[in-house]
Amino acid sequence: MKIYLKIWRQKSPKDKGRFEMYPLDGVSPEMSFLEMLDYLNKTLIKEGKEPVVFESDCREGICGTCGLYINGRPHGNLRKTTTCELYMREFADGETITVEPWRAGAFPVVKDLVVDRHAFEKIMQAGGFITVNAGAAPDANTIPIPRDSFDKAFEAATCIGCGACVAACKNASAMLFVAAKVSHLALLPQGKPEAARRAKAMVAKMDELGFGSCTNTGACEAECPKGISIANIARLNREFLKANLKE
């Protein structure tokens, strides 16, 4: 199949950037979206042009590295799918595909389709951890965990930190990400001692980094490749308010 790619090109964080059109022939419907970009880059290199810079790692939907805004939606038009799990059979022959980087003040463009997502790391460093004894590994199952807490915590823990929630949100809010991380730990006994401090520290860091605030549109949940529920955001609000009332 032949496709037309409209891709955001930006040389450096300071460059203004622009869209460029790339017609690409010989695309197989069995190619993943990233394989198609690899193929495009091979073609560009052969022509002596600079390849398009994008990020990827595991290419099996579990690392959260890849993330492109494809035809107006993060990770493309499929639900619960990362960019690497998107296949060219989802597109029509002759289609023009618009590919953009995540757009958010807190995620500045580094080059082409790569954005700097260190803001997520900084939020995690602010409180997304538990304090444990660094000695020998504790015996498994020493602390009983109720099944429903475990299930909810696990669902929250499936967040791969790809940033699609921020990219999709009209407010560029990181609430779903922070909610998933706070919920994951707050639901488990090991996370309880630091729950109040964690909620306050992570929200404060999120605000400081310039993410918007949640207006409950639900776009994040709809676009999350792991389908993380916005019920976690209600839990974050609860944890945050509880933490502030304790003062």
């Binding site: 955001w8 009209k170 918007g212």
Partner: protein, 227 residues
């Protein structure tokens, strides 16, 4: 606590709590207004309006209501401006309708439209009833009690000004859309939500918003059709 209201969640908490207060107010307001269509002599509505004007509890609630409106509008504006700034560069191609509802993305616009009509509305009724008076606001005696003929003022406007009635109904529909998202959203923001209740609250939102929008539409419709 100062820190709380300087945080993004704290600011939204104020929008949510004031919104919940306004949600309750709308129920009271609509209940009184509906008295307009159950008694064409106007005695029922006049008694309701007289009660609202003279009851000391209502007197206490009135300034609180004004505060509720101010807080809701002010903090919603602050939140919206900050959210707008969070994405300096937008997308070339964006399909938000694939992942979210129109009303949820346009709460500020809907709020602005509601505010515009609210000012008109206050000017037509509240200011006249409370401060300036109007030739139509004659004194009537119902059950031996002298009161203002609020019914005459309100019903005359609906009977005589067709376009005002139409505008009023359009306003009610916009208000309905604001409430479809606002109702459950307020619960979500104060943390009273979970995996099970999210759907229930969204259903209640639709029911509540429909009752409010339809209720406010019925009144001008009644006067257009029967007078």
């Amino acid at each position: 606590m100062n820190k709380l209201f300087a945080s993004s969640i704290g600011r939204k908490l104020l929008v949510a709590l004031s919104g919940m207060f306004l949600i309750l107010f709308l129920v009271v307001h609509l209940s009184i207004n509906l008295l307009l269509i159950f008694d064409d002599s106007g005695a029922l509505f006049n008694k309701g309006a007289h009660f609202m004007a003279t009851n000391p509890m209502v007197g206490v609630m009135e300034p609180l209501l004004a505060v509720g409106f101010v807080v809701h509008i002010m903090y919603a504006t602050i939140v919206t401006i900050r959210n707008y700034r969070a994405r300096p560069n937008g997308y070339l191609k964006n399909l938000p309708s694939a992942n979210s509802s129109w009303e949820s993305r346009n709460m500020f616009v809907l709020g602005g439209i509601i505010l515009f009509f609210l000012i008109l509305h206050l000017n037509h009724f509240f200011v006249k009833m409370k401060f300036t008076g109007d030739p139509l606001l004659t004194t009537v005696i119902i059950d031996g009690v002298a009161m203002k003929n609020s019914y005459l003022l309100v019903s005359s406007l609906f009977k005589e000004n067709f376009w005002y009635s139409i505008g009023y109904m359009i306003w009610a529909v916009f208000l309905g859309f604001h409430l479809v998202h606002g109702f459950w959203s307020a619960f979500q923001t104060v943390g009273l939500n979970n995996e099970v209740w999210i759907q229930r609250l969204q259903n209640v939102s639709i029911i509540y918003a429909t009752i409010i929008a339809a209720g406010f539409c019925i009144i001008p419709l009644y006067f257009i059709i029967f007078f």
